[in-house]
Structures are given as C-alpha cells and as structure tokens.
Symmetry: C2
C-alpha cells in the first residue's frame, strides 16, 4: 500500500472516485477502508466453458460463495454494481492463473480480456464487519491491524463440475453475549456470508490448531471467549485452484472491487 | 395431571375450550401441549402498592420478564389475551404466597380477589420451543419427557423497589450449527424471552455444575454440543420471593394461563 497516495483517495471518497483512482493506477494496494460503507467484492473471472459449472458451484454453496453479480460473457462492464464499473480496470491488483498456477500480478487486465470471459463478484466479510462494529462489537483482528484468521475445514462444499473442496472459514473470537449478538447481526446479511457456520470447539470442523491459520493472521482466543466461524470467500479460490482452469483471473488478496452498493442496502430486514 | 380427562381437552382444542375446561375444574394439571400453538403465560398477581414496582422491574428486565399483559387494578378480566379470559378462574392451579411463604394451592382464586390486585402475564418459553421444533431443532428435555433445566446465575437483574435478585436461565444443549439456528429463530420472539443470553462455558455466568439444576430436570450435554442459555420466567418468581409481599398469587409451575394469541403472532419478523 502506497501511503503517499492516501490523500488522493480519502476513506470518505465516493465509490466512483475510489474506482477512478484505482483505474488511473493511483491506488494499487488493499481496499480496506476505502469508500467507507460501500460493498466490496471478491472477483473471479473464468472462460465460458467453465463459468457455467462455477455458477452452479456458487448456487450450491451460497454461504461461502454469495454472488453479488455475474457478467455477460465477454462483457467487462457490471452495471448491477455501479456506474461504469469495469472489471478490466477497477481492481487495484489482479492475479492471473493458468492451469492452476499463478503466472502474473497486474493492475489492468484489458490486454488479457477475451470474448468468452465471464466475471463473478462474490460478497465479502468487510460488509458484515462494518455492521458488527456499528453494533458495538469489537473485532480483534481489526483492533490489532491484522488480516482475519482463515482455516480450511472438514466441511465439504457441494461439487459442481471440476469445482469442489473444503469450505474455508474465517474466525473471530468473541465473548458469548457478543457472539449471540453477532449471529443476529450477520444473519441480516446473507449476501455477504450471512450467519456463522460454527461456534465453539474448532476440532468439530476439522481445525486442529487455532494458532496456525491456513490463511491470514492468528489472533488470541481468550478464556472467556468463543471462536465464531463464518464461511469465507477464500472457499471458491481453493475450489478454483483444485479445478486448474486453463485461465482464471482473480483479485489479489485484500485488493477488492469497490461497488456503488451500500453495505446497509444488503440488509435483509 | 389427571390422564382420564385427556379426551375432554384434546391437544387440538381451541384456547377457549381449554380455558373453559380449566374453569370447570375438569383440568387441574400441566398445560404443556394444551391448545396447541397458542401462547401460554406465567401469572403474577400483586397488590397495587407493589404492582408499580413490579411493573418497573419487568420493564427493566425484559428478557426474563417479557410482559404480555397487565390488568387494570381490581379487574380480573384480561381482554388483551382473549375472549373472557378471567385471571381468577382460568389457571389450572394457583399458588398463594403471604409474606413470601407458600400458604395454599387452589384451582380458583375468586374468593381471594381484591379491588387492589393487579395481574401480570409474562411470556413463557413454550412459545419459542414450538418455533424451534418447527425449525427441525430437537429439544432433549422434550424428547426425554423432562422439565427443562433451570439455573440461578451470577447475572444480576436491574432492581426496582423491593424486587431484585439473580437472573434465572433455562438451558438447552445443542450442536453448534443448531445453536446458531436457534439464536436466529428465538431472536424473532422477544415477547417470550427472545435470543439466548449466554452460550458455552456455564462458569462464566456462575453455574458450577450443569448436572445440578436449581429448578427442573438435568439433561446430558454431549461432547459435540454447546449448552445454550435463555432468560427464564422463573426470574420474577425468585425476585418476588425475595421481596416478600404481604400477598402474591402465581400460577403453579407448569400450570399456565392459556391465551387466544397464537405463538406465530408473536414473531417480530
């Protein structure tokens, strides 16, 4: 993250202003805190031949893969997500995968775009974390400036075509009353993973050691806290790695697509 | 419970029919399963001099003391709860307390009624248990034909006048995913205790031994389960015992007031 660029995209900038700064190359890092209050999405781009299988994979696994938008084949614009949202230019940092291997990181995929590519934008926990913090619930990884801890579990996804694999979860430690409140708050946001999938003993979902996350950073779970586990948007990335598509383009971790949707708009009630 | 009377008040009888059978003295036992789907309430009757304090106690402690209705002083009818609901005759079994001591059990309090008595009807967990079972969540104490396990906790109530004391909770063991679903389901029913107040380690709320409940019957908590704790309608009874009013009349445990309200009507969304 280039701190010298902070003033050009202050946290209260509109989503459009943030996207334009990203498009110009003025912002190439993490999007956490940008365009405060707006929905950010995980990005997956696949050739049409595999996109139908992936769409069914998301439909069958809505908690880890809640779809915010699916593009038309060959169409880089995603009008459902905002004014002039262009999937080729509006993500700060892309990862390009060929046959399952990471081959390139880039800030613009216009030169890689093809008529058969289909874009998927998947909800992300930033949205429900805003709701949790607004409800007065502290988030340790935010307080400590760390990435959330994520784990591969023994919970299987429902396969579709070549897409399969374990559910990945994120974990946030909470006192019991806060955990109950967090379940209420996140239940209102099914488009961004919704309610937790597990609470308490991590071994029941195949996690041997909370201090060794598979992705992100470990945080302490205090004696008067319960670990609370939400389905995580890393799940589809793990399924894609297993499917080894000839081409796949994703966002780089933490460098999300900023949409014009407000987090509050996603609340189901 | 007089089993020979079951046919006269079958579980599908209307609430009015159930109340009339109770009023005639044809039903003197537990009301669990009577007038299926209808809200049942805990009953507290106090002299006006204490009723105002008790009303404030309920207002300050809505999770253990959710008020369904408060009568006019001296008025035994509670029209908010149904056709011809009469608090003097419609509870199968009353307990009469003087200066905090149980002095009488009776099926009719008409002869004890006074112009200064005020009736309180407080929501009961039967309503949310119906919602839990309809959601496919098993309840061990129901499966085993036992009363739910209840415990005095270290969670204080907010006092009002002479009314004070610890919150009493009921406990239901559940697998983690079922516990998350149960939090969602019961959150919809704030008038009958609402969401749980605690989940997991019982010592954090001052419960030393789950196998020794203070009220009701113990049930096992299996290794892959969490104990889930809801605020309980026994809380006001404990506060009343502590306040030692010159006169108080309550329902006998399990012998509730059957109302015309449907459990489904209480759902907040």
């Amino acid at each position: 993250m280039n701190d010298t660029l902070v003033p050009s995209v202050p946290p209260n900038a509109s989503a459009l202003a943030a996207r334009l700064a990203i498009r110009r190359g003025d912002w190439v890092g993490h999007t956490s805190g940008l365009a405060d209050g707006h929905v950010q999405g995980n990005v997956v781009i696949l050739p049409k031949a595999l996109a139908d299988d992936f769409l069914r994979f998301c439909q069958r696994n809505p908690k880890p893969c809640p779809l915010l938008a699916v593009g038309e084949p060959g169409q880089p614009l995603l009008p459902a997500l905002g004014v002039d949202v262009n999937i080729c230019t509006d993500v700060p940092n892309y990862r390009v995968w060929r046959d399952g291997e990471l081959v390139q990181e880039t800030g613009d995929i216009t030169s890689l775009w093809r008529d058969d590519l289909v874009s998927f934008v998947i909800g992300c926990s930033f949205s429900f974390e805003q709701a949790l913090m607004e409800a007065g619930l502290p988030l340790r990884h935010v307080d400590q400036g760390r990435n959330v801890a994520m784990y591969r579990t023994s919970i299987p996804t429902v396969p579709a075509g070549p897409f399969a694999g374990p559910m990945v979860v994120s974990m946030r430690p909470m006192k019991p009353a806060a955990a109950i409140r967090a379940i209420q708050v996140t239940s209102r946001f099914p488009d961004v993973h919704g309610a937790p999938v597990h609470i308490g003993d991590p071994r029941l979902i195949g996690i041997a050691d909370l201090s060794r996350p598979d992705y992100g950073d470990a945080v302490d779970v205090l004696p008067d806290e319960l670990p609370v586990f939400w389905a995580c948007g890393v799940t589809p990335q793990a399924a894609i790695r297993q499917a080894r598509p000839e081409l796949c383009i994703t966002h780089a971790p933490g460098a999300m697509l900023i949409t014009d949707l407000l987090n509050h708009q996603l609340a189901s009630f």
